[in-house]
């Protein structure tokens, strides 16, 4: 059988225990124009066996958030405040040595660009086995055996022979599998996947997502998925944080946020996805483009592109507040947004029924 047929939904069991709790995270970058806050007051929780998506467009701070948690910020960037508690320990308070002890057993990270994330001069076996040698003091032979086992688990064919291959001898999809294998080698509690499928084709993307889902269930990891793809979030994640210009503008369960967005940005994003709208019909689009991080306006970060913007939006930055059960948005007019959406929804439902 060349093909697996299975249920395309990924939503998992009801919430269990929290693995990672991020509270009020701020990240600053020093630039020629001065210090810029690229991540501002970000809070979320990732739960065991669930996927939390950080969703946003390029430059919204989603990757920066992940890097801050993983302790991989560039020297110009620094955590300016907030906590990131993994298993009772605040990652932001750790010294480099403690961090290294956590990296691997505590958290694993998968990057977007699989080719640059692997060292071209070492074999896959060496790179996969490294984690076991460092953290478990495994011998060379043991490490290789573990590497082969890992490769089998992530679906690389003929692991016994391919363990001695170099990164360039693998295809893009296989390299991504290897990266995932490296990240989950020590069964981390938290897996951060930074745009893991952006560079891949649709059919390979489906394979990788399937693999991540399988590993998540097997190892009961919490997964933080960083992506700009709404459809991927809709299918893969349980919870979502929608980020815009360094701020979380809306968060909650994917079902709720996507069916009844309470922030105009979320709503605008959802409506700009070309769905089955008739050919030639205009797409609703968000006017303008995201603000440069050096020029984030006072007040609401989304005011320049928001159809609902009024005087209060220019003066006062809205805080995240409960807008519905299990859903929070940072908008002064969240009620208006959800009300407007309901009308649309009804129209959609009618359309569906006609079909």
């Amino acid at each position: 059988m060349m093909t697996e047929m299975l249920e395309p939904t990924a939503q998992s069991d009801p919430p269990t225990d929290t693995v990672l709790e991020v509270t009020g995270l701020d990240v600053d970058i020093r630039t020629p124009q001065g210090t810029v806050r690229v991540v501002s007051q970000v809070s979320f929780a990732a739960r065991r066996g669930q996927t939390l998506a950080l969703l946003g467009e390029s430059g919204c701070g989603k990757s920066m958030t992940a890097k801050a948690i993983a302790g991989l910020l560039d020297p110009v960037a620094s955590v300016a405040g907030g906590t990131a508690v993994l298993d009772g320990q605040d990652l932001n308070q750790m010294n480099p040595k403690q961090r290294r002890a956590v990296a691997g057993p505590g958290l694993g990270i998968v990057f977007q660009d699989a080719l640059t994330a692997l060292n071209p001069v070492y074999t896959i076996g060496t790179q996969l086995g490294e984690a076991f040698r460092i953290h478990r003091g495994a011998s060379k032979k043991q490490a290789k055996a573990e590497a082969i086992d890992l490769m089998r688990r992530v679906g690389i064919p003929e692991p016994e022979t391919r363990v001695n291959s170099y990164p360039h001898q693998f295809s893009g999809g296989m390299r991504q599998r290897i990266l995932i294998a490296m990240a989950v080698a020590l069964s981390p509690q938290l897996l951060i996947a930074d745009e893991p499928t952006t560079a891949l084709d649709v059919t390979v993307q489906a394979q990788i997502m399937l693999l991540l889902r399988k590993l998540r269930t097997e190892q009961q990891m919490a997964v933080v998925l960083i992506t700009h793809d709404l459809a991927v979030v809709a299918e893969e994640a349980d919870e979502v944080c929608v980020m815009y210009a360094g701020n979380v503008v809306e968060q909650g369960s994917v079902d709720k946020v996507f069916s009844h967005p309470t922030h105009p940005y979320t709503k605008g994003l959802l409506e700009s996805v070309p769905t089955d709208a008739q050919r030639g019909e205009g797409l609703s689009s968000i006017p303008g483009s995201p603000p440069e991080l050096t020029k984030i306006p006072a007040g609401c970060v989304y005011q320049d592109r928001c159809p609902l913007a009024s005087a209060i939006c220019r003066q006062e930055r809205p805080l995240l507040r409960d807008t519905a059960d299990g859903q929070r948005a940072a908008c002064h007019f969240a009620e208006k947004v959800s009300a407007a959406k309901t009308d649309n929804d009804d129209a959609n439902n009618v359309k569906e029924e006609i079909r």
Binding site: M5, A206, Q207, A231, T275, A277
Partner: protein
């Protein structure tokens, strides 16, 4: 116009049996042949959008480059309103160049950073000197183009890096429009853009088509975008078009298992539209240096039989009553019909699990 009732609307572009082989040096073993295009047939009608879908390495960019005469085909013909551009020389060729233009994928690499937006957009006039004589005429056209793509006249003096990605792509579109072409090849025009900006550019392309009556070849790997903007779709796999037809036919009732798996694998935003079962193909695109015999998709196909490796499949079509057949005997399926090259086409969308569960 002297069209008989049976004739389709005028074809702007017709491509027949186009093939292109690259020679890839393989060290001491000499050179290997890479068949990037293998017998491509397609046509584009006036004012319509043809979508070209496929994964990376399927040859869709090579096809675009060949149509733009950036590559020379080995065999096959390209007819642009009856003319073969590869036979043209000198002035005639220059005139042809005006009629087909291209918008590139990367809005950063496709604009020379040392030029201003105005210089970039008016660059074609430096070659086509007789088109707009004098600075005043050129500036008038420049302002017209800027207005057309939604940029301000003052933007002409800015350099590309002062623009956002979406605005840069607008400059690229304005440059492609500068010579008033009949056909624009759009090579992944929105894949480098953020979602909110992507919608703006798609709307712009749509408005331009309605305003100017220009035809598009829209190359993309994003199926939801293709579905939204195209009239007809051709699906490519390893240098061949394995399925083509109207967008609705191909998306709603794909014939080829590969197309079905593409449709199935692309994530859907709306839970109601998710397929009942998802086809997840095993493996990846085989190396185009060593393509499989017979049907090229057989190595990943769940319906593959021994015949698939032995024989290259004929074109199959689906008639009005839903039956899949070889079409009119001896002639094959008519032009523009929904066809796929497969021994065992997907008879019904539900077979591939494409009908939503709800």
């Amino acid at each position: 116009m002297s069209t008989s009732p049976s004739m389709s609307p005028e074809n702007v572009l017709e491509v027949k049996d186009l093939s292109k082989t690259f020679h890839v040096s393989a060290g001491a073993a000499g050179s290997q042949e890479l068949r990037a295009l293998d017998g491509i047939n397609l046509h584009v009608r006036q004012g319509e959008t043809l979508g070209l879908v496929g994964e990376s390495g399927c040859g869709k960019s090579t096809l675009a480059r060949t149509l733009m005469m950036l590559e020379t085909p080995d065999t096959g013909t390209v007819r642009f309103e009856g003319q073969d551009p590869f036979a043209l020389r000198g002035k005639e060729l220059l005139t042809w160049r005006r009629r087909v233009q291209m918008v590139f994928q990367d809005p950063f690499a496709s604009l020379n950073a040392r030029m201003t937006a105005g210089q970039i957009i008016t660059e074609p006039f430096a070659t086509h000197k007789d088109l707009y004589r004098g600075t005043a005429a050129k500036n008038r056209r420049l302002n017209e183009l800027l207005d057309l793509v939604g940029l301000r006249a003052t933007d002409a003096a800015k350099s590309p890096q002062e623009f956002s990605g979406g605005q840069r792509q607008r400059i690229g579109i304005a440059r492609a429009l500068a010579l008033d072409p009949d056909l624009i090849i759009l090579d992944e025009p929105v894949s480098a853009l953020d979602l909110s900006v992507q919608a703006q550019v798609l709307n712009l392309l749509n408005d331009l088509q309605q305003e100017l009556g220009v035809s598009y070849i829209f190359i993309s790997h994003d199926l939801s975008v293709v579905r939204h903007v195209t009239d007809r779709v051709a699906v490519m796999y390893l240098g061949r078009i394995i399925e083509s037809g109207s967008t609705e036919q191909v998306f709603d009732a794909p014939l080829h298992p590969y197309t079905a798996s593409l449709m199935s694998a692309s994530p859907k935003l709306d839970p109601a539209k998710r397929p009942a079962r998802r086809i997840v193909l095993q493996g990846e695109l085989p190396s185009p240096l060593d393509p499989p015999s017979g049907c090229r998709f057989r190595t990943r196909c769940w319906k593959a039989q021994p015949i698939c490796s032995a024989e290259r499949p004929e074109k199959m079509t689906r008639n009005d009553s839903g039956q899949v057949s070889l079409g009119i005997p001896g002639v094959g399926p008519g032009a523009g019909a929904h066809v796929a090259e497969c021994h065992f086409p997907v008879a019904d969308p539900s077979e591939a699990g494409l009908i939503p569960a709800g």
